[in-house]
Symmetry: C2
Subunit: 227 residues, 2 copies
DNA sequence: AGTACAATCTTTGTATACAAAAAACAAAAA
DNA sequence: TTTTTGTTTTTTGTATACAAAGATTGTACT
């Protein structure tokens, strides 16, 4: 056993991008833990490539905030603190509100249809109780909204911010007591986008983030206690 | 003559970071023009380093959206289109609104004092008519607000977004007819932060961006006509 | 036993080497 | 003249080499 993230060679990408994706995935899933050092030769051997693509991947992870550089010491996986997470969530609250507002203006008929389906799928997933399935349905739903804004920069920004929360995505889903309100919140968002009611949509989106924040911060405090 | 961005060796940073800063500056000031190819050996010779730090710098510029990678062809300076710019401005409108709202909640007495001074300085700069001085005073003022949010992630985001607008920062200042309203807008923002009046502050910030947007989009259309 | 110091081993930062893909160019055929 | 094809050149993608900074370990000395 032991942590065994492997490179998937099926891609036809430069190695640096393959490495970048592999390392990012490993960090997001927690396979590489915060504070863990990213040693180039070690990673190069593990992934069967030279140091060059490893380094270039690390440069990108650095800019993305997923790793921290320590001068003359190299890279390590960035620490997640309560402060850094609430900073992220604070930004996301505003950005998600913007997303639904723009969606009100610009969503197409097809996208509205897809959003309705995504809402139903989410409800089904919740009823099934399968955490993984719920998380997936949740992502799909939000993805439709973000893309409906037609703003590429916004799509990218939401992705980057989501990334930081990725490790905690199951926590707020595991809490079964919240399930009904999650379904309800999604419903409200869908309905208000349908009615082009920006104010309600925006409030619902913010509430949605607030609820996630509570769970995530609780989780971080729990993790800290353990140490 | 010819474009001569030189590396500044005074720094005590890894070469990749020096190169990164140098290239970014060159792109932002327009010394490297959109569409221009970034050839590694060429840049390496010009800056007197090897290809390695150049490549690592390019990886970061790539993630920042300042350069575009073309497979097996290398990097080129990202094109600025009307769409990409209005995408940026759309996000900035929301983000700047968030900044002033958070500033209302969290600004310290010292920062409020500094903000007042920055407002006065801006007015002085406008009266002097010196475009460079005005731009500087403008940046200083907004910097105080953003930092007053105490949100590191937000500071970084605003910087990245500002970067995209950097090339046009003079345009909306050159338009003398707007000067009085710029001073007035800053005044309103200051007053409303002082009174913790989020709604007014937020509206003023949005208006501020709207005005910039008009000028910038006009400028982009002008540039396109020329071609 | 504990501390200081030297030798060694790691690991990064930077440069260079080499192969393969793409572009540019030239020559030959239609 | 135009098109096609083969060759050369350029440029990227990846690997490796080497030096310098840091960490570690072991040993001598107090």
């Amino acid at each position: 056993m032991g942590s065994d993230f492997q490179i998937q060679m099926n891609e036809f990408l430069p190695l640096r991008d393959v490495v970048f994706n592999t390392l990012r995935q490993a960090i997001l899933t927690g396979e590489l833990k915060p504070g863990e050092r990213l040693m180039e030769i070690h990673l190069a051997n593990k992934l069967g490539v030279s140091r060059t693509p490893i380094r270039e991947a690390i440069r990108k992870l650095e800019l993305e905030g997923l790793v921290t550089m320590i001068p003359r010491r190299g890279a390590e996986v960035a620490q997640i603190t309560e402060k850094s997470m609430s900073d992220v969530l604070e930004v996301r609250r505003a950005v998600d509100a913007l997303c639904v507002e723009l969606a009100c203006e610009r969503i197409s008929e097809e996208e509205l249809e897809a959003l309705k389906t995504a809402c139903d799928n989410f409800e089904d997933a919740v009823n099934s109780g399968d955490v993984k399935k719920i998380a997936q349905a949740d992502v799909a739903l939000h993805d439709i909204i973000v893309r409906a804004t037609g703003n590429q920069r916004l799509v990218q920004l939401v992705n980057t911010l989501s990334e930081q929360m990725y490790r905690y995505r199951f926590e707020y889903i595991k809490d079964v007591s919240q399930h009904r309100s999650l379904v309800e919140e999604h419903r409200v968002i869908y309905e208000s986008i349908l009615k082009k009611d920006k104010a309600t949509a925006s409030d619902a989106a913010k509430l949605h983030i607030d609820n996630q924040e509570k769970t995530i911060i609780k989780q971080i405090r729990l993790e800290r206690e353990k140490r």
